[in-house]
């Protein structure tokens, strides 16, 4: 029986461990946490919950799960699609089916449970490891990896345990994250071989060594081994530059709990934007090199990048912003004119 503690909002938080049982038909484990049950076969994931069943392509599901796990549930809503996803409550996490889908809400078939974040993360990490076969990398663009389909065939824990690099102040400062090089295992991606691989020159006078740092952001991004997975390269207070390389489709629809910004550094991404609560379409934002756009705090977005491109995501990491936007204290837009 699930143990539950009370959150300040009176939503019970389930903090039981997950269960995993081998399904001998396909060789994968079946996972249970709370009243959710996750199963996979050769092509699909099937999630059972008290009000029904959710089914999805397992490739899309694993790509979404990979981001959710790697980002520690990220900011706000991680919609795997229009129906299933998670909401980060910072310390606890909601898992939902249909809660932010107008059709499910109207039909009353929506369902949500709140879990202790560490317990849910342990479940999802185990599932991701078990369900990812040898030769398949859910972080990679489809043209760069194998197939997610089929029965159990080894694993790819090196890929699913990839850690993104998070600078505390600035890349290259003593004690902070390092620049990317061949020697560190970051070769230039096939789509960025035409990007100039030069570097800035830092000429520090005696006594000032280590106080200044510079690097090529374009080279850094050209060497990104993953897609749709921002790193952090600089922080000014809570202002964080989170650049990332993008190719194919952002697997999730991200519903941020704060305003975020995109600066398209190279090539092009088209963003499909919907209402955060209902999923109703609101806009299509096409960004070309040099374009700048805000993503308001009341929408969900998903990107499409036909060629690997460079995107600068800009976040305000200040704790508590989710409550200030959620309560209406702050407007959902960054500025008005």
């Amino acid at each position: 029986m699930a143990t539950a503690t009370k959150h300040p909002t009176e939503t019970p938080i389930i903090d039981d461990d997950h269960k995993a049982v081998l399904d001998e038909r396909y060789g994968y484990h079946v996972y249970e946490i709370g009243r959710f049950k996750f199963e996979r076969d050769e092509y699909f994931v099937r999630v059972s919950y008290p009000k029904g069943t959710y089914i999805a392509d397992v490739g899309n599901f694993l790509r979404s799960m990979m981001r959710d796990v790697a980002w520690g549930f990220f900011y706000g809503w991680v919609n795997f699609d229009d129906i299933f996803g998670t909401v980060n409550r910072y310390g606890s996490v909601d898992v939902f089916v249909g809660t932010y889908n107008a059709g499910y809400k109207t039909a009353g078939t929506d369902f949500v449970e709140r879990f202790d974040a560490a317990k849910l993360l342990a479940c999802f990490k185990s599932l991701l490891s078990d369900w990812t076969n040898e030769g398949y990398d859910p972080f990679a663009a489809p043209l760069e990896t194998g197939t997610p389909y089929g029965s159990k065939n080894g694993n790819n824990d090196e890929a699913v345990n990839f850690q993104r690099e998070l600078a505390e102040r600035f890349v290259g400062l003593p004690g902070d994250t390092e620049i990317r090089t061949d020697e560190r295992g970051f070769p230039v991606n096939r789509h960025f071989r035409d990007v100039v691989q030069d570097a800035p020159e830092v000429h520090a006078e005696p006594g000032f060594e280590g106080q200044l740092s510079a690097f090529s952001l374009f080279d850094y991004l050209a060497r990104s081994p993953v897609t749709w997975n921002p790193s952090i390269v600089s922080c000014v207070g809570e202002s964080a530059y989170c650049p990332t390389s993008e190719e194919h489709i952002l697997p999730i629809q991200h519903g941020n709990d704060r305003v975020e910004w995109f600066i398209q550094l190279s090539d092009q991404i088209t963003w499909e934007v919907g209402d955060k609560e209902t999923g109703a379409p609101r806009a299509v934002v096409t960004m070309k090199a040099g374009d700048v756009s805000a993503m308001p705090a009341d929408i969900r977005h998903r990107g499409f990048s036909p060629k690997r491109s460079m995107l600068l995501v800009w976040e305000n990491m200040a704790p508590g912003l989710e409550e200030r936007y959620g309560s209406g204290e702050l407007p959902p837009t960054a500025a008005e004119f």
Partner: protein, 166 residues
């Protein structure tokens, strides 16, 4: 080649845009193009192209030497176009540095007296730290465009109605 990487410049940029579905307003997306903004600005105007509460990303048309600036907190510079050198001085006069509660860059009237810290040579795509308390000046070798990660201050210019899609 289908996989050729495309960067833009003041002389060659192509702008995307916001297409609305239903009752949405494009103004909410504060959509602009940094090369267009820089091309329409006077040299070294620090035009805010992105704002997140007090934090800013400011875009500048880099032509001719910049003023000397100093800041109580870190900033960063990203060269989006052109080659340039950033010079750093540790000022002798500690009063030049704004107090901790004063945010954003402060413009200095003249080059401050002090110890030369370093210089950084940068080209397109290069990024450098502008550390708190160090006076800095940017000297472009040619027409350039830079993005400055900062906090709203007396040098920050907001002109959303002029730069954003309506």
């Amino acid at each position: 080649m289908a996989t050729a990487t495309h960067f833009a410049s003041i002389e060659a940029y192509e702008k995307g845009g916001v297409e609305i579905v239903g009752a949405e307003s494009p103004k909410r997306y504060l959509f602009s193009n940094l090369f267009e903004v820089a091309g329409r600005s006077r040299p070294w105007e620090r035009v805010v192209v992105a704002k997140n509460l007090e934090f800013t990303i400011e875009c500048a048309h880099a032509e001719g030497d910049s003023p000397w600036y100093i800041c109580s907190h870190d900033e960063t510079i990203l060269a989006m176009q052109g080659e340039m050198t950033v010079y750093f001085i540790a000022p002798d006069d500690s009063d030049l540095k704004p107090p901790e509660d004063k945010q954003g860059a402060r413009r200095l009237d003249v080059e401050p007296a002090g110890r030369i810290m370093s210089h950084v040579k940068m080209g397109r795509g290069h990024m450098a730290l502008l550390p708190a308390g160090a006076a800095y000046q940017i000297r472009p070798q040619s027409l350039g465009v830079v993005l400055l990660q900062s906090i709203e201050g007396e040098e920050s210019i907001e002109r959303w109605a002029e730069i954003c899609q309506h």
